[in-house]
Symmetry: C2
Subunit: 367 residues, 2 copies
């Protein structure tokens, strides 16, 4: 088992990565001093539930925990205020108290929904992340939790750190290839913002990553989580530095919004967004190598690097203007200056961004 | 103008108490470095809106702020998740960004609803309290914000401190007598938990308080807010000490629940609850003076000190068992040990509490 710590003073917590961790959940919860006297609520989705809910609940119950279950439909539509209210109802019906914890078993949707419920129930109770996707190596660390509003994604939420992240690699071994590639987008991102050597390592191990070799995958997730943990430790509430984690997300979120959140996987959207950011970086003076390495790394793990032509540039620009990263009317982008280094650039002109969206459509088709 | 500070490190904030402060809102907001570049949203209820919304908006606009308005129906039913979603929609429609603030103009319902929206919108934006009731001297300080769930009051919320509390005494001068008395219940509470001399002062100035003499009222609110601020500064998230602010609330909330939140004003319910707590204190060894002084102080400001006979003791006990203050199955009460001093007592037997509920019905009728 690999272990690292997110250092946040009295809100610090461990991330445990390895095989067979769900079987050991009772012991690991107890080590983290999660009370056995107060009931837990496991929140999961219908897909994950089939395979992992009973093993997790059984492991907890064998260690003396009471574990209620709440299953939501799979997919982004469960990240709604209505479903949030249903989770709170389940908390009340299961008798959760101030010493209880909510356990998120699943990917980003489940983690965000259950995390916001944990942030809000009784003004905040404990929270454990048990991620079951590669993408969730990003979302499960750092305490950003949220649900969607019909007019805006992730607009209703909190910063609420988990007590523990239990990353059982066994849950990843049955992921379909498209989900694997999508999840690796955030792993590549962590290299691009902080660690050029890790980007090279990814390119060199892309085949093993796509084949889900546990030790290689465990190392990639450990490195990705380490970058995330280091950045979050230095700027928990995104007053500055933490914004670098949004590399590729300004364009990416706009693409997701235009696509109705369904046509593109999150990792695919931010892959295209990271290509756009690299183009922007080169425009602003970064060496061409930044663009070439970004493209090579994303392609190596099977991700798209061009925008399908049918996306309407006006619609993409409009969606970007609504994005919450535009404080006080200016456009802010995370822009690479070298491989492994990015900076936060304010005052980027909309015209320059529009030209890049257009250019993304002229990249080699990825389908 | 009286001013005091809630000391919470980088979350510290001033409470300004005086007449004519709404007219000066623009200047006071600007002193607190609330951005003029980002729009504000004023949330208020239909009753307060008639009298104070346009004066506040005009004062802000005269200082260069853009101030959108959102008016909710008066009453506890607006503290719902549905109304919360409507406030978030208003934030989006008004274009609030991460530098914006939500301004709560009203009593506890508006403060709790708007505060939870400010805690959640974009994972937390700024928040200003402009309380317009006496009761809100308590709820507007300390950062506890929440909405209700159909099964439980205040169960969905956050700790989210305001940037500024602007307490304009002019808004209080038209309060109906029953609201004045109800509001003074929390003022008396602040004396009972921390300051015996203040309790005597209240009894000695009860007539002037009930007559809403601005200088006397301003002093009472300053003292009440000072106690609240001191306790919150020492235990922001209610890990221990802060629970003493719940004096009278365990029984009080149960009475409100049984009454359907309408028959009893909050202050009336906790007045009866504080009598119950005083009885419990005497049972557990406090001098009889604790009970006598509690009763005298509450009666002096026109508050009920007995429970109407039609309240069903079983229903009250049942409601108490559902209260969120019972961690891990034990019953916890805030119990006076002397006038101006309380302690947190765990492990109180349900039988003893039941006897006190019964005894509260045998107190002299208050209607």
């Amino acid at each position: 088992m690999r272990e690292l710590t997110v250092n946040l003073g009295d809100r610090s917590y461990p991330i445990c990565i390895g095989q067979g961790l769900i079987r050991r959940a009772g012991e690991l919860f107890a080590e983290k001093a999660i009370s056995r006297k107060s009931p837990l609520l496991i929140v999961t989705d219908e897909n994950v539930a089939d395979r992992w809910l009973e093993p997790l609940a059984a492991a907890l119950e064998a260690s003396g925990y009471a574990a209620a279950r709440f299953i939501v439909p799979a997919g982004e539509k469960s990240k709604s205020l209505d479903m949030f209210q249903n989770v709170i109802t389940a908390c009340l019906e299961a008798g959760l108290d101030r010493k209880s914890a909510i356990v998120a078993l699943g990917g980003g949707v489940v983690g965000d929904l259950a995390g916001y419920a944990a942030a809000s129930y009784m003004r905040g109770i404990r929270f454990v992340q048990v991620p079951t996707t590669i993408l969730a190596h990003d979302s499960s660390v750092g305490g950003k939790v949220a649900v969607n509003h019909p007019l805006a994604k992730n607009i209703i939420g909190a910063f609420h750190q988990p007590e523990l992240v239990l990353y059982d690699l066994d849950t990843l071994l049955t992921l379909p290839p498209r989900e694997v590639s999508s999840g690796l987008a955030e792993v590549v991102k962590h290299g691009l913002i902080r660690d050029a050597g890790f980007v090279e390592w990814i390119v060199g191990h892309a085949g093993q990553l796509l084949a889900l070799e546990p030790d290689v995958l465990g190392h990639a997730l450990y490195k990705g989580c380490s970058v995330k943990a280091e950045v979050v430790s230095r700027d928990e509430r995104e007053n500055g530095l933490r914004a670098i984690l949004n590399l590729g997300h300004t364009i990416g979120h706009a693409l997701e919004a235009v696509a109705g959140y369904d046509e593109l996987r999150h990792g695919e959207a931010i892959s295209i967004g990271m290509i756009g950011s690299a183009m922007l970086g080169v425009e602003l003076g970064a060496p061409l190598e930044v663009y070439e390495t970004t493209k090579r790394a994303l392609e190596s793990v099977g991700l798209p690097v061009a925008l399908p032509e049918h996306y309407d540039t006006d619609a993409v620009m409009e969606a970007m203007m609504h994005d919450k990263k535009f404080g006080e009317g200016r456009m802010t982008f995370i822009v690479p200056t070298a491989v492994g280094t990015v900076e936060i650039r304010n005052g980027i002109e909309a015209g320059m961004v529009r030209a890049i969206v257009e250019r993304l459509k002229r990249e080699e088709r990825w389908t």
